[in-house]
């Protein structure tokens, strides 16, 4: 029996976040201060206390449980685990939390993610690494950030399938239109296609507006058993399924650039989608709202194809049809996403999924019952999760 048919054993019962700050502007708070504030907000939302907490989950480049426990005064942890993917592993924190709850290793697990960019930038993250025998070629090429490397995939997608810049632009415009009403969003001014086309090229075919925000902030989610969730105040958001998949074809993704020919113009999420749909017994037609990892606009197109919302190569026309807008057939990122709201390595997408499924979202999708949340296209494991508000 699939997990969804069993009903989902674990549920998100609390969500907390700091404000989202333009990169560097969370200073002089420390990143652990941001994390602590998000945790306290999540517990308050769940009407639970620090004494209830006995588990942590993180994704790679995660945070030190000892520091968090010392600073906040957490008495006893029986579960503390890290998914070994970075943005790719983000949605896997829900898989770990499910494992912890379903196996009885912990009763109240905090899923934690944060970003702070004081004195360093994610946009230059490839150049921040020390030079190695493998990455020296990226250095020689001049690829200093993920967007520059992913521009290679975007250009090849355009070459193979005729994908147009207008499709990238529509993703940015849709994101900005959604963010206009969302107070937490950093970029809220509506945008026209002319303005998009006039944006300077940063990594042709990607212009400045195809690049997401660089943001500081922290988010935390409280996960417990579905049984216990029934006695807590918030409408439970069940983890119907969360998957982690890695393949040699994808490997280190844009850090490698030797993905298989079939994988190169994808977001690397095809195997995750397949496993997630198998786990849950659900499919693309069941998804009411998709929170897709949109750090660079073309990746939305590739994920639409990976997750089976359209055929390979048809993501551009799908987007240009208006389908991803609020009111479209598949609303994407009604919170404005990484492109317009903020970028905390995918965590803001879980928050939006929770709000949509509680029925409290700013741009509420009517009768949203099932939400997809995806991790980004980075070194394996790639991850995704399907959340639902009915057992």
């Amino acid at each position: 029996m699939t997990r969804a048919a069993r009903g989902g054993e674990a549920a998100i019962v609390g969500a907390g976040a700091t404000p989202y700050y333009f990169r560097g502007q969370s200073h002089p708070q420390t990143v652990y201060e941001l994390i602590g504030k998000a945790i306290l907000a999540a517990l308050a939302d769940a009407q639970l206390t620090l004494d209830d907490v006995d588990g942590f989950t993180f994704f790679a480049a995660g945070f030190d449980p000892g520091t968090i426990a010392e600073q906040l005064g957490i008495r006893r942890l029986t579960f503390s685990h890290i998914v070994s993917g970075y943005g790719s592993g983000m949605a896997g924190i829900l898989d770990l939390a499910s494992m912890g709850i379903e196996t009885g290793r912990a009763k109240t697990i905090l899923c934690i993610g944060a970003a702070q960019q004081v004195g360093r930038r994610y946009g230059q993250s490839l150049a921040n690494f020390g030079v190695t025998p493998d990455n020296v070629f990226h250095r020689i090429a001049g690829l200093s950030g993920p967007g520059q490397a992913l521009a290679l995939s975007a250009r090849r997608h355009m070459h193979l399938y005729g994908t147009r810049r207008e499709a990238f632009g529509e993703i940015v415009l849709a994101s900005r239109a959604a963010a206009a009403t969302r107070e937490t969003a950093i970029r809220r001014k509506p945008l026209t296609m002319d303005e998009y086309m006039a944006s300077p090229m940063l990594a042709d075919p990607l212009c400045r507006l195809d690049f997401c925000l660089e943001t500081d902030g922290a988010l935390a989610f409280v996960v417990t058993s579905a049984e216990r969730a029934a006695d807590l105040p918030q409408r439970p958001v069940y983890i119907a399924g969360a998957a982690q998949v890695g393949t040699r074809d994808w490997g280190r993704a844009f850090f490698w650039l030797n993905q298989s020919d079939e994988a190169f113009t994808t977001a690397g999420a095809g195997p995750v989608a397949q496993r997630l749909y198998e786990m849950t017994g659900l499919g693309p037609k069941d998804i009411d709202v998709a929170l897709l990892y949109d750090h660079f606009s073309p990746l939305v197109i590739m994920q639409l194809e990976d997750y089976g919302f359209c055929k390979r190569g048809e993501g551009g026309p799908f987007v240009e049809s208006g389908a991803i807008r609020l009111g479209g057939s598949l609303p994407i990122n009604p919170h404005g996403g990484h492109l317009s709201e903020g970028y905390v390595v995918g965590m803001t997408h879980i928050r939006e999924a929770v709000e949509q499924l509680r029925g409290t979202a700013v741009n509420q999708i009517k009768n949203a019952r099932i939400a997809l949340v995806t991790g980004g296209p980075a070194p394996i494991p790639m991850t995704g999760a399907i959340l639902r508000n009915e057992r």
Binding site: P133, A141, A151, R155
Partner: protein, 146 residues
């Protein structure tokens, strides 16, 4: 006249290598581009590493990969350049006719920015790093600079 991509200044770059990548850099010192090829099953691998991902053999033969073609590329403005005189770097991902399944990322130099296309043939050229000779690429038979 179209602006052309610049050659990066690599003179301060100290190229690191390990026992598996060292033959690559020994060859480039003689201006030869060679790629690692499994002696047992003939599968190419990149970057150079301890095992063939197909048969797990550790035996490697270094062979010329043949003519290169552009698999993809991007065009990057050099940060900090004046708006009226921007320069551009072109990272290029190259695949080879006789080394199927591997791609080398490098710089495409002296290429007209409006004349670069996926599939175009490229030939290797060489730039000096602090301790190594670095392979970069040019379009084959580029039109002469005017």
């Amino acid at each position: 006249m179209s602006a052309r991509s610049i050659a990066p200044d690599l003179s301060a770059l100290e190229v690191p290598w390990d026992v598996w990548s060292e033959p690559f850099w020994q060859a480039t010192a003689e201006r030869k581009l060679l790629m690692p090829h499994c002696t047992e099953c003939g599968t190419f691998r990149w970057p150079a590493g301890p095992f063939c991902p197909q048969c797990q053999s550790q035996k490697v033969t270094w062979v010329p990969p043949g003519l290169g073609h552009i698999y993809s590329f991007t065009v990057l403005p050099v940060l900090g350049d004046a708006k009226d005189a921007p320069r551009h770097r072109v990272p290029v991902l190259v695949e080879f006719e006789q080394a199927k399944g591997v791609r080398l990322v490098s710089a495409l130099i002296d290429a007209p920015l409006d004349g670069i296309a996926i599939g175009a043939a490229v030939e290797v050229d060489w730039l000096a790093a602090a301790n190594a000779t670095v392979p970069v690429f040019r379009l084959v038979s580029p039109p002469p600079s005017r």
